[in-house]
Structure formats: structure tokens, C-alpha cells
Symmetry: C2
Subunit: 201 residues, 2 copies
């Protein structure tokens, strides 16, 4: 697993470590709360990540009340229930198929963009694709705040949508957020080698 | 557009700017080449970003030869042809539905994982979802190298797959990479406000 770390990157070593090399998916957290100010700072960073036509379909539902957490846990798969019940904060990451409603603001130089997408059958898929890219930004943004993310794909998407989302929104992931408890960090798993991933033509 | 930038984040201001705040999608580039060492350094950073079951489905095809570039440009939509023809480097980002073949290496603590996914009908969708998250990491990784990314969704996905990808792989995006020419950077578009994106329950 040879790595190149000889100054080829412009990003400072500390930032590389914070976001990628030392950061780890967390399955347990300390009791320290995650504040709205922290979430606001994370969003105010990751919102700048690019999306297609600046469509920004990602939506976040912060699950804070005990009652809401209980409703969410009921829709998580068994292996995700305990850690979701215990996390300082859990965010439902959703994709809004109604992203085109914002085009007059978000893509103002093309005044007919909203209308052009009104009957576009691909909106749910476009929303999901771009919200997934934004999920990548979000995971790194959580780490940028000095916190750890625990993204989960194991949940009943229909149940989560029915309980928590608006019409036209679909669940993309559920992410636990907090200060990591080292006891809940699994051993680092191997990554594919460059030559397994990258080809040149 | 109030922002929180008061030290709530652990990530250094310079890194925030490099990855998110100052970085921009590029539509034109200087003639400076993008080397294999740079791509290797980018991959060796972004490979650490998490994926579901560590499945790492993202594959990259670096389009370097004039002949391959010509074949790719033919499959780009008209608005993407000229900039793809001129970019120092273009990467086809693909999702490999055969990610489970690597589970003996990438998810070794669950020895039956490969077999369990052999007949799983959701593999193409799982691959696409996780490769899309990895595309988010990749765009930031390109910026971490001091370069700019120009991700594009406008291309004939079937044509690109037929020309450049292996069986079981699907195109997720085509990304131009290089040192940005300021003339090819459009005015910054507005982002949605926190309250348009985040709700609390």
C-alpha cells in the first residue's frame, strides 16, 4: 500500500489527516452534544460543493427529540438500532425531487430552467445522484468540525420517508454525528490499490 | 447569506477555502499538464473516504491519448464537447457493480460477503450510490491537489460505457481536471439558506 505523500498535494497535512487519513467512521460516541451552531457551520461549508446546475437537492432532518428518535430507530435495521438510539445527533439525509422549484434563485441566468424540469421524469434520479455527491461533502464537513460521522444505509427508506420527509423527498442515508468514542471504531479496512481503480487510455 | 466562520470548525481556514469557499468549477484550463503522480496523490487521499461495507465501487478511466479523447468527445453533449476536447486531463468516473468480488480483501471479517452479494439484484444501484459519494470525495481531492474539477453529467452514458468501461461498470460522471483558467469560471451561484435545507424534529 505505497502512498504518495511528498508535497504533491496543496492541502496541508493536518487537513488531510482530519478529513481522510485519521478520520474514521464512528459506531459509538461520547455524551458530548452536537449543537445547532456546529451543524450550521458544517452546512455553511459544504453548501459550496458543486452540484449539477447548482441544484443542491440535499435536505437534512436533524432528529433531536426523544420521541422523534424513537420513531426513527423503529425504521433502522437491527444492527443500526442501538447506535442510532445512543448517538448525540442523527441526521436523515434526503434528496428533494423538487429542486427545480429553486432554479429562479439557484440558476438565475436560465430563466426557463424551472419550467423545463417541471415534467422531467428524471428528477428523482437527478436528485438522488446529486444528493449522494453532497453526502460525500457532508461526511467530510462533519469531520471538518472535528466530529465523526457514522453513515448508515440500513433502514426502511419508505418508512423513514413516510415519518419524516415531505412529498417528493427520498431518504439517501441516515448519519449519526458526534464526538467519537474510540471503543466504537473498528480496525481500518484495506483500500483498493491505485492500479485496481485507475486505468489510462 | 449569513455564514458562521468563527472557529466553530476544526479545519483550518486555508483548507476550507481551498476545498470549498474559494474553489470553483472550471470550464477552461491553462495548458499545464496533470501528471500521473498528481492523480496518484489524489487517489491516495480520497480512497480513505468511507463507503458502505467498504465497497469502494468508484473506478477511474483517465483519458490521455488524442485518439481516446476524440472518442470520448463524440459522446459528450454539445455544450461539453469543446471544454472536454481542451482539458489537460479528463477522467471518466464509473461505478463497478462487481465490487463484491473484492470483499475477501476489503471486508475480510465477513467471509461470506462476496457470496451473499453474488445474486443480489441491487448491486448496480449500490455501486452507483457509493461511487456518487466517492465522486464527492474525488472533487474535493482534486481541489486538495491545487487543481480544479469540471464535473459533467451531459454525455451519452451507454456510449461511454460501450467505448471505455468493463462489463458491470456504469458511467457516473465525466470530470475535466486541470489548472483553472479564470476566464472559464462563471460567477458564483447562490446557495440555499440553512433554513431551506435543514429542519429539526
Amino acid at each position: 500500500m505505497a502512498t504518495v505523500d511528498d508535497g504533491t498535494l496543496a492541502l496541508a497535512k493536518e487537513a488531510q489527516d482530519l478529513l481522510f487519513r485519521s478520520a474514521r467512521t464512528a459506531n459509538a460516541f461520547t455524551g458530548e452534544p452536537v449543537t445547532d451552531d456546529q451543524v450550521r457551520a458544517i452546512y455553511d461549508l459544504v453548501k459550496w460543493g458543486p452540484t449539477a446546475m447548482n441544484n443542491q437537492p440535499m435536505r437534512l432532518v436533524l432528529v433531536r427529540s426523544p420521541e422523534a428518535r424513537e420513531r426513527l430507530v423503529a425504521h433502522m435495521t437491527d444492527n443500526n438500532k442501538a447506535k442510532t438510539a445512543a448517538a448525540p445527533l442523527t441526521a436523515i439525509v434526503a434528496a428533494d425531487s423538487g429542486f427545480h422549484e429553486h432554479f429562479p434563485t439557484t440558476f438565475p441566468h436560465k430563466p426557463d430552467a424551472r419550467e423545463a424540469f417541471e415534467d422531467h421524469p428524471g428528477r428523482p434520479q437527478i436528485a438522488r445522484f446529486n444528493a449522494s455527491i453532497q453526502l460525500g461533502y457532508l461526511i467530510l464537513g462533519i469531520r471538518a468540525a472535528g466530529l465523526a460521522a457514522g453513515p448508515m444505509a440500513g433502514y426502511d427508506a419508505d418508512g423513514v420517508a413516510r415519518e419524516f420527509l415531505n412529498d417528493g423527498e427520498q431518504a439517501v442515508a441516515v448519519v449519526n454525528i458526534g464526538r467519537p468514542d474510540p471503543a466504537g471504531t473498528f480496525p481500518r479496512l484495506p483500500r483498493l490499490d491505485y492500479d485496481q481503480v485507475v486505468t489510462t487510455v
